[in-house]
């Protein structure tokens, strides 16, 4: 099943990622390759006595080319120098989970033939205004270094990076064979930068702008695509808050025979959508734009929207509905039965409008919606969508004490109806342990469990007890769990469960939880696979932080904000662990004498502290 990129859970790198190329002599590593190194390297040295080295390397090169998974590649590179060298020559896609873990120069020095780069920048909590803007994660040094080193570069996939128009201009200029640009949750550029890309990258197959902030420079970037037939396979611009030239778009779609995925922004009306659909029946993934009209439609001449959807027999992924006029929703009936992915998360749909639609969606695997569909709507999902793998329910009114239309009833229903569920994100105002326990028992395939009870410290609303047992059951029963986000009233006991049973947990998000340092200690002393830890507003202090020192080199990052940390402790850790970058991020009115640490963000790095840190960041 193909999913739209943005529909995948954030934790898409679900394999164990050992450090990129940290020399294991310098840094204690708990990953598995040591074993293979011992047994294979000895046989390699034996063989090298009998065969010339270049023949062996040739063979290696031919074999290693088939290794795709970066986990396997990391392991292979640790076997011996020869393997390290050849692996570096044959790695064509490089994944960098933290752009400050190494410098661009190190990347280009080690890997010589990179065609594709995946790069992640800011920590996730930056999305929630927990960090001042202009923190960093600039794409500029990366693109300028790669411009010289990888003229054959084809693909760049960035998440939470700061990208300027100049960066995009340099990219378009430097890589003549460039094919795929994917910008997720990025900012710093505008439609003018996009125009340069569309104009100069003649081999462009994928231009996906997803949840990024794109400024409106009043440039008609759609018209900048070349006049002849394009290679476009995917074009997503639903986050671009600027009107577009529809005529140019129509022309573009008409001369893009390979176009399969098209995600329109809200400046495309229903009428325009209708025209596009009639001209592009081969689409498999569609973002519908506004799904409304600007003015009063003339009812005699209203197009047959359902007919347009009927013509799109291949559409399996549907999203958009940015300004939905609900009376037009039934137009999508013809495609419902084929849908594997449906995103209603920007549409305020009531249960009555929703139920007739969902009852047709038997093949649905990914479903995102607002809580406006209520528990009733979720029950309908549970009754119909037996193939559901991923569910995300967002709050229409994201405040702590708003009315909560969904509750434990919806969660319980989903757990009973959707037994194949793997990933859930659920915002609600009230929840019970019983429902969470039920889900842990009914959905053994869960790998991602993110429950957000919006009122801070809110207990089980039926029993009044903390939510410890519910989350405890999740870590105990869901043996494949790799990502967990907790909420509600939680004591140290919940963390004891997490530490003991969360054997595969890689990512943990904690907010307003726990009673004492012991909670964090349970996690740091347990959870053997923990990579990403983000904590806010919880009573964890120096003792807890120190208890994790044996493992920070094996983690991608630790974020702790509004906890009880002192600068002194952070300084100690920075001193003892030279390959750890310890950033203390303060607000503007901080004075240096304060010992209290507002925000700690620390991560391993091969190239020391960064040189682009803004004033409000202190690197210890």
């Amino acid at each position: 099943m193909t999913q739209d990129r943005s529909e995948m859970s954030e934790d898409d790198d679900d394999q164990q990622s050992s450090p990129l190329d940290l020399p294991s002599t310098a840094i204690a590593s708990s990953s598995t390759p040591n074993k293979s190194r011992n047994c294979i390297s000895s046989s390699v040295t034996l063989k090298s006595q009998t065969f010339p080295d270049h023949v062996l390397e040739n063979v290696l090169e031919n074999v290693l080319q088939f290794l795709d998974s970066r986990c396997d590649r990391n392991a292979a590179s640790l076997v011996c120098k020869s393997w390290w060298r050849v692996e570096a020559l044959t790695r064509s896609e490089v994944f960098i989970g933290n752009c400050y873990a190494l410098s661009p120069a190190r990347l280009t020095q080690r890997f010589k033939r990179v065609r594709s780069l995946v790069l992640k920048g800011k920590p996730r909590f930056a999305d929630f205004n927990l960090m001042p803007p202009d923190w960093g994660a600039n794409f500029a040094p990366w693109v300028s270094t790669m411009a010289k080193a990888y003229p054959w570069l084809e693909k760049v996939d960035l998440k939470r990076m700061f990208v300027t128009d100049d960066d995009l201009a340099l990219l378009a200029d430097s890589f003549p064979g460039f094919k795929e640009l994917i910008l997720v949750c990025c900012e710093g550029f505008g439609t003018s930068g996009i125009a340069i890309v569309t104009n100069k990258c003649r081999k462009l197959k994928v231009l996906d702008l997803i949840e990024s902030e794109v400024t409106d420079d009043e440039v008609d970037w759609i018209s900048c695509f070349p006049e002849d037939v394009t290679c476009l396979e995917s074009l997503a611009f639903d986050c671009v808050e600027a009107p577009i030239n529809f005529k140019a778009l129509e022309g573009l779609v008409a001369r893009s025979p390979f176009l399969k995925k098209l995600r329109l922004n809200r400046f495309v009306s229903l009428v325009e959508l209708h025209r596009l659909l009639l001209g592009a029946p081969q689409l498999t993934s569609l973002g519908t734009g506004s799904f409304s009209h600007d003015e009063e439609p003339r009812s005699e001449q209203e197009p047959d929207y359902a007919a347009a959807f009927r013509a799109c027999k291949s559409v399996v992924c549907l999203s958009g509905f940015r300004e939905l006029m609900p009376e037009y929703l039934p137009a999508i009936f013809p495609v419902c039965a084929n849908l594997t992915s449906l995103n209603f998360s920007y549409a305020n749909i009531s249960p009555d409008m929703f139920k007739p639609i969902i009852l047709n969606c038997h093949k649905l695997q990914v479903f995102w919606a607002l809580d406006s569909i209520c528990d009733e709507g979720l029950q309908a999902v549970a009754a119909t969508c037996k193939e559901l793998r991923e569910l995300r329910i967002f709050p229409f009114d994201p405040r702590e004490d708003s009315e909560g239309p969904v509750s434990e009833l919806g969660l319980q229903a989903i757990s009973e109806g959707c037994r194949k569920l793997e990933s859930i994100l659920y915002f609600c105002q009230r929840m019970t342990n019983a429902a969470v326990i039920a889900m842990s028992e009914n959905c053994p395939e869960l790998t991602v469990f993110r429950l957000c009870i919006m009122g801070r410290h809110r207990p089980d609303h039926v029993t009044g007890k903390p939510m410890d047992e519910g989350f405890g059951a999740i870590v105990k029963n869901c043996k494949k769990l790799t990502r967990l986000a907790v909420s509600g009233l939680l004591t140290d006991q919940a963390f004891r469960y997490m530490g003991e049973y969360g054997k595969l947990v890689r990512t943990l998000s904690v907010a307003f939880a726990g009673d004492s340092d012991m909670a964090l200690r349970h996690v740091l002393e347990g959870c053997p696979r923990l990579q990403k830890l983000e904590i806010r507003d919880s009573p964890f202090g120096d003792v807890a932080l120190r208890s994790g020192m044996h493992r920070y080199y094996n983690m991608r990052f630790v974020w702790m904000s509004a906890c009880s940390l002192s600068k002194g402790c952070c300084k100690d850790i920075a001193r003892v662990m030279p390959n750890l970058v310890v950033e203390v991020i303060g607000s503007d009115d901080d004075d240096d004498n304060r010992d209290y640490v507002e925000t700690l963000y620390m991560y391993r790095s091969l190239d020391g502290p960064r040189n682009d840190a803004p004033k409000f960041v202190t690197i210890l």
Partner: protein, 228 residues
């Protein structure tokens, strides 16, 4: 006499229903007063142990009215619930029914305007509040526009932007005329009004070729040429 009406309570007049309705003030923007006091009053610090007013989930009670003498503690919780700004902005745009620039929510502390220069491949944004005078602004613009390369963008009459002093000369000569659109939608010449007034009224700028500026008042043009 209706005693309820004279009752002291926190919140806007007739405030009991405002919390229930979908947010009128727009999610993601600054919280209205009624919203801020709606937050739990005594969850100041985690250390004292949470005492939750809603323990038995009395959903319809507006619990914040229970103790009006207590000041609201930590009225705004940044980033909670954890809904991304992107999503909040999309919903806010829907509710207000018209496109709002994300930057305009700052109000008073920043004044971003777009600046386009005829012949440049793309435009820039500047925060007028960062400058104290027309000269400051002119210098900054010269710096900004001088970073464009002489690429083949296909625009007619491209000038060589790489030379910063050249750009400065152009800005100061009569070849290029900086103009701006004010709050009323009129295009005016930059430099006519006192700087603070300019900052308040300028919505966007366009540095246009002298030949294009013919439509603007000739007397104003003269005035501009005579300014140093």
């Amino acid at each position: 006499m209706n005693l309820k009406e004279t009752e002291l309570c926190l919140g806007l007049p007739g405030g009991a229903e405002t919390v229930e309705c979908p947010s009128k003030s727009g999610v993601g923007n600054k919280r209205g007063f009624s919203e801020t006091v709606g937050l739990k009053l005594n969850l100041q610090s985690n250390k004292q142990g949470p005492v939750d007013l809603n323990v038995n989930g009395a959903p319809k009670e507006k619990t914040f009215l229970k103790d009006p003498s207590k000041p609201p503690a930590k009225a705004q919780v940044v980033g909670w619930p954890p809904v991304r700004n992107y999503r909040k902005n999309v919903m806010a745009n829907q509710k207000s029914g018209e496109a709002e620039e994300a930057m305009s929510s700052g109000g008073g502390t920043v004044a971003f305007v777009k600046v386009s220069m005829d012949g440049a491949p793309y435009l820039r944004k500047v925060d007028l509040k960062m400058y104290k005078s027309y000269k400051d602004l002119s210098d900054a613009l010269a710096k900004m526009f001088s970073s464009f390369t002489m690429g083949s963008y296909g625009a007619q009459g491209m000038i060589d932007f790489m030379n910063e002093s050249k750009v400065m000369d152009l800005l100061n000569s009569s070849e290029y005329v900086p103009s701006y659109e004010d709050k009323d939608g009129d295009w005016m010449l930059v430099g006519d009004v006192p700087w603070p007034m300019f900052v308040e009224s300028c919505k966007r700028m366009r540095i246009m070729k002298g030949s294009e500026a013919i439509g603007l008042a000739p007397r104003a043009m003269e005035k501009f040429k005579n300014r140093s």
